[in-house]
Symmetry: C2
Subunit: 199 residues, 2 copies
């Protein structure tokens, strides 16, 4: 398969690439590195990157920013960061890709454990991750030509504990390599509308 991997140079993206590269053709994309450059928040940029990628069988999104802050201090604009980037960035990939992917192709998006298990400062993450999952459940029933869509919901990564550990006290961190398996399951499997929780 020809697979576009967005966020290929992040911790998770590298682990996904390691699993898929031996048997697929990977095209990497990112804001500042990769075969293709794209700004997820800009629909035109996403459309251009997908056209430049050529024929694709799968799009994987392992990217997406959002803001962390105490609920008492959160501003509407700070919620807007996650809505524009991690939520609409992934939606942009689906909106553009639904017209471009080969028949039977797939989208695999990324949410996170905060959908169900909130933490302090994480109200934007819980909002956005929940939205990504709801969107994928809905898109799954409308995608044409056998296109599929799934979401991977990772726990905090072992590799991210040095930076995010204090926010995730008591969470059982999972290795990025284990989370990467869920992306493989989505791309190479046949399911759609699923959320793979690697918690």
């Amino acid at each position: 398969m020809r697979i576009l991997l967005v966020g290929a140079h992040g911790t998770l993206g590298r682990a996904i690439a390691e699993q898929l590269a031996p048997r697929h053709e990977l095209i990497t994309a990112g804001r500042s590195s990769g075969d293709l450059r794209l700004d997820l928040t800009d629909f035109a940029s996403v459309q251009q990157a997908l056209r430049d990628a050529g024929p694709l069988d799968a799009v994987i999104a392992a990217a997406g920013n959002l803001h962390f802050a105490p609920l008492a201090d959160f501003t509407p604009e700070q919620y807007g960061i996650g809505l524009a980037d991690k939520l609409m960035g992934q939606v942009h990939l689906v909106l553009a890709g639904q017209h471009l992917l080969r028949d039977g192709g797939s989208f695999t998006l990324t949410s996170g454990i905060l959908t169900e298990e909130p933490i302090r400062n994480g109200s934007s993450a819980s909002m956005v991750n929940s939205a990504v999952e709801g969107y994928a459940r809905a898109a799954a029933i409308e995608l044409p030509r056998g296109l599929r869509i799934n979401v991977v919901s990772p726990n905090v990564l072992v590799e991210s504990l040095p930076s995010y550990g204090p926010f995730f006290a008591g969470f059982e961190a999972v290795p990025a390599a284990r989370v990467a398996q869920a992306y493989v399951r989505s791309v190479e499997g046949a399911q759609t509308g699923r959320v793979y929780r690697v918690h």
Copy 2:
């Protein structure tokens, strides 16, 4: 209690008012009618309405617009309608209200059955309803002074079948009066972080 009811003149809002009015002081708010006028998409307007309402023990949101369209035709701007109105409108109420409600007060927001049960044309609704539920789960653990937050997720209303029926083929519509009970349970009960599904 003193309760601010946003969207009081909608089908659901009227049913909620009927249940609560006999034993509480209701202040109604809406875009074009009610004791107070507010534009949910405008944070300053929401802040002003909450200040004008005076001391409050509860805020109920039974309002929120979003766009319905086939996934193939959806534009980012059309998703923006639901994000700005039904999602951020309700978030605006929480952001402003967390500093103004009396100790032990509550927020009751509205999502909908499309969180779990998608329909054609409903990808924005599934996205936004899921986001509202995830947000409330997260806000619940950070709200101060015993403030609570819950979400009511209604099925399609019996009263709405004339206009929305064709979209909800095979859904068991529920009377607005039954859904209104869930708002009463949220306001007069003691739970927080819950989604009351009236499906």
